[in-house]
């Protein structure tokens, strides 16, 4: 009992010093770093999916959590990245039989500018709208991209998808590919951290809270939204680029609105107001998906019920609930330390800002 309390205090102190989001990010990072120590290949396969889809969901959250607009076509850029890498790898394979290391990295890196270009095209129109209209236009563009990839058989192989995306020998081992993805995603997340904590990142939060006020303060709202849209698209493309060689194939369904939905769910389950909320969401969603399918064919029913419960009883996502719970513990600790017989609600508040919303204002 006593040990438990002191342990909790230790966590609270760490959170107080580092910040809630930072502590959780650090914890998730360490967990993912040692994940392959768990015996069995399947854990690593699921782990790699968690990492890659986590980056995808984080890129989506740049639009949703930071800018306050919901996109239902974000998978288009994930798919665009995946297809860029896949087609380039096929091209290199046609040239020399095997994909070289330099060629492989080039194929992955090229996904970034291609998806950025795609999102520039879509974003140019989307940022003119907000709210439900933004969501609908992104959905329409996403479906348009899906049908282009689906029906352009001569270029994309249509519904068959592209198979046989064999990466160079080093990346064929699941664990080695896992660490490669982890490295790429860690660099991407570092960049995202830098972006979201830059003045630009704070401008985005301001757009989320009040676009008119931001405009009055001299922020070019559309340009700001467009730049963010392109950044989000580029990171989604990078995630897609990692996905293809890992699965050894790509199919048009990577661009479907269901896949866009996946990013939305991961973000909402984890907590859109926290930097690494989408990664936690990806961990939960992907792991459930990976393991429930082993036991039952009715996994949509199971995951549907889980989503239902999370939405009903955990508003703001899991991290939000944990944050509030720790905050109460902290308040309680502060109150008892001061030995003030005050209403605990009035006692000193937690010493970290809630999510990233308060720190903006």
């Amino acid at each position: 009992m006593h040990a438990d309390r002191s342990q909790r205090r230790w966590i609270l102190r760490l959170i107080g010093r580092l910040g809630f989001a930072e502590t959780i990010t650090l914890g998730l990072g360490l967990l993912l770093l040692i994940l392959p120590l768990i015996p069995g290949k399947y854990v690593v396969v699921v782990g790699a999916e968690i990492i890659i889809l986590g980056l995808f969901a984080m890129s989506f959250n740049l639009l949703y959590g930071y800018m306050g607009e919901i996109s239902f076509g974000h998978a288009a850029f994930f798919g665009l990245g995946a297809y860029t890498t896949a087609l380039l790898m096929r091209f290199f394979q046609a040239g020399g039989g095997e994909v070289g290391y330099g060629q492989f990295l080039l194929a992955i890196l090229m996904a970034v500018p291609v998806s950025a270009l795609g999102s520039l095209l879509v974003g140019y129109f989307c940022v003119r709208l907000t709210g439900i209209y933004f969501a609908m236009l992104s959905l329409a563009f996403g479906e348009l991209f899906f049908y282009i990839v689906f029906s352009w058989y001569s270029f994309t192989k249509g519904d068959d998808g592209i198979q046989g995306l064999l990466p160079p020998p080093f990346f064929r081992d699941v664990t080695q590919y896992y660490y490669f993805s982890l490295l790429v995603v860690a660099i991407a997340m570092g960049t995202l951290w830098w972006i979201t904590n830059s003045p630009f990142g704070y401008s985005l939060r301001m757009l989320r809270e009040n676009k008119n006020r931001a405009a009055f303060l001299g922020i070019n709202v559309r340009t700001c939204m467009l730049v963010n849209f392109v950044i989000a698209g580029a990171f989604a493309g990078l995630a897609g680029a990692l996905w293809g060689p890992f699965q050894r194939s790509v199919s048009p369904h990577l661009l479907s609105c269901m896949n866009s939905g996946t990013a939305v769910f991961m973000t909402l389950i984890g907590g859109a107001k926290y930097f690494c909320g989408p990664v936690l969401g990806s961990m939960i969603y992907t792991a459930l998906n990976g393991y429930i399918t082993l036991y039952t064919v009715y996994w949509p029913l199971t995951i549907g019920l889980i989503i239902l419960l999370v939405v009903l009883f955990m508003p703001g996502g899991i991290l939000s609930v944990v944050d509030q719970w720790l905050r109460r513990a902290q308040t309680h600790r502060n109150a008892s330390a001061a030995e003030v017989a005050e209403d605990p609600k009035k006692g000193g508040g937690a010493s970290w800002p809630s999510g990233f919303s308060k720190s903006a204002g």
């Binding site: 439900i132 959905l139 479906e143 029906s151 909402l268 949509p300 029913l301 549907g304 239902l308 009903l312």
Partner: protein
């Protein structure tokens, strides 16, 4: 790609009946969104559920009534009633809790319904497509053979559209619903029980959807996955027509239905892509839709 006059007429009727079904589906979606601000992602999945129910009821009735045509009508009505009650229950038990939440969380909830009801369908009816064959001789009209059932669909759709219009504009409850679209708080302040209105509207929306599924069953096989295609087309219809405008929804449904029907003939894979092209164009040119008011945007 030779399109003679006969197939032109055939596609026109097929497109009109598809448009009617889209209208029935989208009007419920639009009504629910207008009154409760809930965008029901699962609307088409509940439509599909209603379709399967109609199918099962019909199988049961055929045994006692003996005739396919005779069994269809009571089956549709029973399924509509059951789905109305299901809609009431869903609203009272679950959706009611989501009103203070943000739009994405509401969408996530209705998406959970898609997964749950989609899988329930798989659990109950399996993965094969279901279809009803009505023994009806096609009529020869303007040189092509038209299934007269198209007229039944167009007639039923038109009747429900008129009924809905009459309900919303001529009855006390319809006026309350329209007032609730305009200002919930004011309606509530007048002593009208908003929760009852909400449950009723949700039930009504689902019931209309189930009705349209039943009516459409004899010309279109239903199966898993149909709902996703359909819900996105419904979104397209609602946006093209303008949120909250029943007339807009009606016109947009017919446009989408007919355009889809002709595109299927010319470019089968791209039929939906053309719909989305129209949607993109409308959103860029008139984000509030053809018949919506700029105020709501």
């Amino acid at each position: 790609m030779g399109m003679d006059f006969g197939s032109f007429v055939l596609q026109l009727f097929s497109g009109l009946s598809r448009g009617m079904m889209l209208f029935l589906l989208s009007s419920g979606l639009s009504l629910i969104f207008g009154v409760m601000n809930i965008l029901n992602f699962a609307h088409a999945t509940l439509w599909l559920f209603g379709g399967y129910l109609t199918y099962s009821f019909m199988q049961a009735f055929v045994k006692s009534l003996g005739s396919q045509v005779l069994a269809l009508l009571p089956a549709i009505l029973l399924a509509t009633a059951v789905m109305f009650l299901l809609g009431l229950a869903l609203e009272r038990l679950i959706i009611r809790r989501m009103y203070p939440r943000e739009l994405p969380e509401q969408l996530l909830l209705t998406f959970a319904f898609i997964l749950i009801f989609g899988d329930l369908i798989k659990l109950i009816w399996g993965v094969e497509n279901r279809r009803i064959f009505l023994p009806i001789e096609p009529w020869e009209i303007l040189g092509s053979f038209i299934n007269p059932y198209f007229f039944v669909i167009i007639g039923a759709g038109g009747a429900v559209a008129l009924g809905l219009w009459w309900f919303l504009h001529r009855t006390r409850y319809g006026k309350i619903v329209r007032a609730a679209v305009f200002s919930r708080d004011m309606v509530s302040a007048l002593g009208i029980p908003i929760p009852v209105i909400y449950a009723g509207v949700f039930g009504l929306g689902i019931a209309i959807a189930a009705f349209s599924a039943g009516v459409f069953l004899p010309i279109m096989p239903i199966g898993l996955g149909v709902d996703m295609d359909l819900i996105i087309q419904c979104f397209a219809v609602v946006v093209i027509g303008g949120f909250g405008s029943i007339l807009g929804t009606f016109v947009a449904s017919l446009i989408v239905g007919v355009v889809y029907s002709y595109s299927i003939l010319i470019w089968p894979d791209g039929a939906l892509a053309i719909i989305f092209l129209i949607l993109v164009a409308v959103l860029i040119w008139r984000p509030w839709g053809l018949f919506g008011t700029e105020l709501r945007y």
